[in-house]
Amino acid sequence: MLPAIPNLLSIITFAPLFGAAVIMILRALSRRDDEAVIARNAKWISLWTTLVTLALSVVMLLQFKGSDAGYQFVERYTWFGPISYHMGVDGISILFVALTAFLMPLCIAASWTSISQRVTEYMVAFLLLETLVIGVFTSLDIFLFYIFFEGGLVPMFLIIGIWGGKDRVYAAYKFFLYTLLGSVLMLAAMLYMVNKLGTADIPEMTRLLTEAPFPVDVQGFLWFAFFASFAVKMPMWPVHTWLPDAHVQAPTAGSVMLAGILLKLGGYGFIRFNLPMFAQASEMFAPLVMALSVIAVVYTSLVAFRQTDIKKLIAYSSVAHMGFVTMGIFAGNQLGVEGAIFQMISHGLISGALFLCVGVVYDRWHTREIAFYGGLTKLMPHFAFIFLLFTMANVGLPGTSGFIGEITTMTGAYDWGTWVALVSASGVIFSAVYALNLYKRVMFGVVTNDELKKYPDVDAREIAIFTPLIIGTLVLGIYPAFVFDFTTASVDGLVKAYQAAIGG
């Protein structure tokens, strides 16, 4: 076995920041006119940084004890006042750390040739984003959490605003506006809680609130404040309209991070805060969440069907898939919550890959109009296979990870209320409608647009980016225990406490 590395979580969290610093220092030391060299160095340093972070996360996964429901790799240093530097992961958050570390090198590789403007800043923004996002999942102090949670928006905001498409300002603005609204409420709620409980330590707060919950009306307000922030992040219907715009304008790697990781902050927040800390309120508001979830599944699937822009279509499909996550979480049972976590991990791989697929054609023809394409299968057989595989995974075909997430969350929700399963299962029909129609319009038919013949099939770099995602999607689809072995113990504790609290 590998030796234990002290402060492993801090190293994983801040390694990307260190890489970013190195890039900045190197640039400061270089001559100003050496732009090409600086850019090249920035890319390679970023790639190596993210790969090292990934390697360290693998070490963390290997050393994690799945049977232990508590936090592991804990680091704790007192800061000032009620705030401490408290890091740790349990069977839930460890998977998101790993997912982030897994997607990041792919993002860097995907930006290798498509980004030519301000390369160093771009790389720094991504590395900063990685640190902040991993920090969200590793921090066990509520203020630390908040800093990472809100801070993560800044690099994303910049990535869209600077390297985005032609309406990037509108998109960045919309993104910001929605998110800010929720954040303010959440911060107020946090302040209130810390004030009342006298601690900002998340495990400690959870323990206190399990033993002596807030009165139900107070819970209701607090629950709603957190909900406002996380619902926007998911995003849930009807606060989802920022997502299609943000995706359409974001560069490919930005979309991958947005769909792959940032959307998961909401689901993670629900599991970490709403469910354990405000159990009664969660039960009380569950009908609302369920209603919004099934609306999201059906409504956005139908909207996706009518899109003419590839990226927008996939963005809407993301909203629909997040509907399964929220319904699983608030079903409040083992199947639902574990399924929701699985669905988030799975969606991170699948939607990430789908946005990379869009990137493949966008890099070549610089348009996302579906009508522009058609018949690509003949010209790009390797790409046809990759795109088909992820289309099917998105549709939730058994054998891919997409299926596991959908069937477990739906089955979990069935116990909460059969109508939730009934309506969301119909969404499974619509997902086939929009996904297969997209595939048909882009890939099938005869090539009528001669422009399409100009560029070759996916190259070695692109195949290298997709390969880990293909393996991940299939392996998790066939042997989902790779995820469940981590989540079972932690979710079991969570669900038991929740059920006890609501007297179920």
């Binding site: 006042g81 009620p82 705030i83 203020f143 908040y146 801070g151 928006l153 800044v154 905001f157 910049l158 605003g161 600077i162 990037r168 300002v169 960045a172 603005y173 919309k174 910001f176 506006l177 800010l180 911060l187 302040l191 810390v194 004030n195 309209t241 409504y299 956005t300 139908l302 909207v303 996706a304 069907f305 009518r306 899109q307 574990e338 075909l397 058994p398 054998g399 299926f403 596991i404 069937i407 477990t408 089955t411 069935y414 116990d415 059969t418 399963a421 009934l422 119909s426 499974v428 029909i429 086939a432 409608v433 297969l436 048909k440 099938f444 038919g445 066939i478 042997y479 225990a481 469940f484």
Partner: protein
């Protein structure tokens, strides 16, 4: 230890379920070597699919074909070995576990190979037809430029189908179920340049998804009723919910009827039953070997297989069973009625398949699961034969599929003609009542009709019986019509002229036949050999296997694989029908159908043409397939599009954005323009302000709280 093995414990005798005292009742661990044999049998096709799929272009056409076909024949040999061991070798039922699948609390599923009479039968059907179809495709697809892809898909399909039939729990069943759906989608859309092919592929997938919607809900219902999704664990528990009510979507249903009905919706989709049948005729866009394998012999029978597999459930769900009987009977007559107006040779056979599946379902619906499985078994041979025969005709006619442009072909395609005739006689079920002499369909179809008669005390039994008789008449008529229009009568094609390109036409085939004189020609031997092998099955499958499936050895043959209620004596009573006319009726209507076809299509061929030209209301209704496609188009498809547009353009754009961000954003942007010159500067500012805000709030909080 490579495999974990577990023997099926005999289900404990309980309430309504009658446990057969069969040879297999006391099960044990699988005999030496069987674990490996059945595992290789199931997994071999996916190895072939992967090799041909990933390396096909590199290793070339012939090696791809060799490896897929070779592995399929290996599967076939092992499948037959398993079946023989199970039927005559005294091998007990067993299940081997390969790997855990989903494992959350009670929601436990494992990748397994379950061997019992049902799965052993299916192993034989699937691997036999599939290996013959692989072989046939060497000839049929010889001019296609993506053969490795084609063979890869065929093998992928076979793998999924084998996973389906050997599943030990609902999750693996569902995996196979949707896996065959994927393969079907890929193969229907194999010629993806054709718009009609890719549309048909989507239609097949989506309509099946409608079925799977019910299937998935059925699985969930089972899980929450019984806390298990494993068949072996489920069956002994079924009695616990017998007579209980279950809440679903705000209403209360009989628990078991609800579960069975939801699962049956899945079966309706996969087996193209009434309302969910529309995808099957369109699926004929796929290459003909695909139609034979997937859309006739194997995949479409998965629904029947599921109902039979779940016989313990359906036996305790009388309402659901009744629905199965009605849907089956309606489909049998409905599809047959369309079949006799169609002119596309493949579509006629497609509707025929639909109709025969209806027979299988109403057999199951009246409780004659054994007869349903037997018809599934014999049907696989003669229907695959008919499709591959049609493929041979299409091949020989240079891609002509319209029967009106055929005629007199027997001289040019003698072997095809001979085997097609055998297939036709087999499907019409010709045989001598009160004897053991007859073609395959005689044994299985008559058993179904007689079972329905036994149940004529029930409304669905009477209905099914009469629909079965009427459908037999139509079957005979359209089947012989096909033979007469194609092989007999005046030739309506012109020598040397390329006919209009039919449905099977596509890019790679465009240059087909150059170098041939354009006269119809017999197919090469690599296509004829599978036809002959299937013809042997169409003749012999009935009298050889009838004693096992439905006759004196049936009890021992099925063991615990099919469990019927204590008061279900359908199979027994069907052997003791006293009414002579019931025994003779199928033969009589078959002969009438033959005579009518002979009269209309050989003696007075001008009559049907006149009828078609008149476009009378009944003919129009039938020719347009009861207008199902048009109705679905005008309702579901339109509604979906309309709702999508409304949600998007009004819901998202006008209401949500209009009231929310755009309302605010517009004002903000307007004032911001005056403050900030460049766009990027604008973004930076916002980011900066946001960050400042966060830091400011935190500082306040920290210092405020420190005291």
């Amino acid at each position: 230890m490579l495999f974990e093995t577990s023997a099926h414990a005999a289900p404990a005798a309980h309430g309504a379920a009658h446990v057969a005292e069969a040879a297999h009742a006391i099960a044990s661990a699988p005999p030496e070597g069987m674990a490996t044999i059945v595992t290789v049998c199931v997994l071999a096709p996916i190895v072939g699919a992967a090799i041909a799929g990933f390396f096909g272009r590199r290793i070339g056409n012939i090696p791809s074909q060799l490896v897929t076909t070779g592995l399929l024949f290996l599967s076939c040999v092992l499948g037959w070995y398993t079946f023989i061991q199970h039927t005559w070798g005294g091998m007990p039922d067993f299940t081997i576990k390969l790997l855990d699948f989903i494992n959350i609390g009670d929601f436990k599923s494992a990748w397994s190979v379950r061997i019992d009479a049902l799965s052993a039968t299916m192993l034989v059907v699937v691997t036999t037809v599939s290996s013959l179809v692989h072989l046939y495709s060497w000839g049929y697809m010889s001019e296609d430029d993506s053969r490795p892809r084609f063979f890869s898909y065929l093998s992928l399909f076979t793998f999924a189908m084998l996973m389906l039939v050997t599943a030990a729990d609902f999750m693996q069943l569902f995996f196979g179920w949707e896996g065959v759906g994927l393969a079907s989608y890929l193969l229907i859309g194999f010629w993806f340049q054709k718009d009609s092919a890719s549309s048909a592929a989507i239609k097949a997938f989506v309509v099946n998804r409608v079925g799977d919607f019910g299937f998935a809900l059925g699985i969930m219902t089972i899980f929450w009723q019984f806390g298990t999704i494993n068949f072996g664990e489920l069956f002994p528990l079924l009695a616990n919910q017998h007579g209980h009510a279950w809440e679903f979507a705000g209403m209360y249903f009989s628990a078991l009827d609800l579960a069975a009905f939801l699962l049956f919706i899945g079966a309706m989709g996969k087996s193209a039953q009434f309302f969910l049948h529309t995808w099957l005729p369109d699926a004929m866009e796929g290459p003909t070997p695909v139609s034979a394998l997937i859309h006739a012999a194997t995949m479409v029978t998965a629904g029947v297989y599921m109902v039979c597999l779940l016989s313990p459930l359906f036996e305790m769900a009388p309402q659901a069973k009744m629905i199965v009987a009605y849907v089956g009977a309606i489909t049998a007559i409905f599809a047959a009625s369309i079949g006799f107006t169609q002119n596309d040779i493949k579509r006629v056979i497609a509707y025929s398949t639909c109709s025969q599946l209806g027979y299988m379902f109403f057999a199951a619906g009246v409780g004659a699961y054994q007869a349903a499985m037997f018809h599934l078994f014999t049907h696989a041979f003669f229907k695959a034969l008919l499709f591959l025969g049609a493929g041979s005709v299409i091949h020989g006619m240079h891609h002509e599929q319209d029967m009106r442009k055929m005629g007199g072909l027997w001289k040019y395609l003698p072997v095809t003609y001979a085997v097609m005739t055998i297939g036709t006689i087999a499907i019409t079920g010709l045989g001598i009542p009160y004897t053991e002499i007859g073609f395959a369909g005689f044994f299985s179809k008559d058993a179904i009709i007689e079972s329905a008669w036994v149940m004529h005390g029930t409304a669905q039994g009477t209905f099914a019986f009469w629909m079965g008789i009427l459908a037999a008449l139509l079957t005979s008529f359209y089947s012989f019509r096909l033979v007469f229009m194609t092989f007999h009568g005046k030739k309506t094609w012109e020598q040397g002229k390329h006919g209009d390109h039919g449905h099977d036409d596509h890019h790679a085939h465009d240059d087909h036949g150059h170098g041939h004189a354009h006269t119809p020609h017999e197919s090469p031997w690599i296509m004829l050999v599978p036809l002959i092998a299937l013809a042997v099955g169409a003749v012999a499958a009935g009298f050889v296997f009838a004693p096992y499936f439905i006759g004196e050895h049936a009890h021992a043959f099925w063991g615990n694989a099919i469990q019927v209620a204590a008061d279900n004596h359908v199979m027994h009573d069907a052997h003791h029908i006293e009414e002579v006319w019931v025994k003779l009726a199928p033969l009589v209507v078959t002969l009438i159908g033959l005579a009518l076809a002979w009269y209309f299509y050989l003696l007075r061929p001008s009559l049907p043409k006149k009828m078609a030209a008149n476009e009378g209301p009944i003919w129009t209704f039938l020719y347009n397939k009861w207008f199902f496609d048009e109705i679905y188009q005008a309702t579901f498809v339109k509604l979906t599009k309309w709702l999508g547009d409304v949600f998007w353009k009004i819901g998202d754009v006008k209401i949500i954005d209009g009231l929310g961000p755009n309302g605010v954003a517009w004002t903000a942007l307007k004032s911001a323009k005056n403050l900030v010159k460049t766009q990027t500067g604008y973004v930076y500012h916002y980011a900066f302000f946001m960050f400042l805000g966060v830091v400011g709030l935190l500082t306040w909080a920290v210092f405020g709280l420190a005291h």
